[in-house]
Amino acid sequence: MLRLIFTIFFFIILAVGGVFSWVIIYLLKTFALPQNDRSKFLFYLFASVFFILTALSIFFFFRIPFDKIILPF
């Protein structure tokens, strides 16, 4: 049960992060000045760190020993 709650919570966080990243990409792409391509760099910077942090959070998530967690209530 606890694992299920954690999993749902975790994927909600990832989904929210995913939506935000889509918004960032959309804004950078749509509203950049025509002669300016620095937004491409910003996009790649955001995407690469976001990807690393997502992978890291998924890695740590599967290391949590859910069977040992006893809720105090």
Partner: protein, 170 residues
């Protein structure tokens, strides 16, 4: 997206001073360091929780960093998309108020009547940034360049452009 005419020359693209994004980045850096101060306190947890607390803490910190990165990047995008474009014909004021709130105003350079520079405060004086208030012929319309670097240079440029444009229109 902003459309420019083929023979229109972009003279300057102005963003807020880097000090403003730097100060926000500094706050994010402090928030980034916060978990490392919390980490040593995990030792204080009861013995039976010791095996659980570290993997749980690692995961929470990773999620916290992910959240912080998204928030920081939203700040960067906000800063990056808030621009003023000075061309030889007009001034464009693009304000990204929030993620889904964007305002684009256009001012003809020959309508400019008064340009005021305000440098207020210790850091703006030291770092050379301030506001430039541009008043046009219309009484209600004003354009403000907020916290831009080298405000006096921008003031000179706008005045020069409006003086150059005015005789052509008459």
């Amino acid at each position: 997206m902003i459309q420019f005419q083929p023979d229109e020359k972009i003279l300057m693209v102005v963003r807020r001073h880097w000090f403003l994004i730097f100060s926000k980045a500094f706050v994010f850096a402090i928030l980034l360091a916060a978990p490392f101060f919390v980490y040593p306190f995990a030792v204080l947890a009861p013995f039976e929780y010791q095996a659980i607390i570290y993997p749980l803490l690692n995961w929470m910190i990773a999620v916290y960093f992910l959240f912080l990165w998204v928030m920081f990047f939203l700040t960067v995008v906000h800063y990056y998309l808030d621009i003023w474009v000075i061309t030889d014909r007009r001034i464009l004021d693009v304000v990204q108020r929030s993620l889904f709130h964007r305002e684009v105003s256009e001012f003809a350079i020959n309508k400019v009547q008064d340009v005021t520079v305000t440098v207020k405060g210790f850091m703006p004086t030291l770092m050379h940034f301030g506001d430039v208030d541009v008043k046009t012929a219309s009484e209600t319309t004003t354009l403000v360049f907020y916290s831009i670097p080298e405000p006096y240079k921008i003031q000179d440029l706008i005045i020069q452009l409006s003086q150059r444009q005015s005789p052509q229109q008459q």
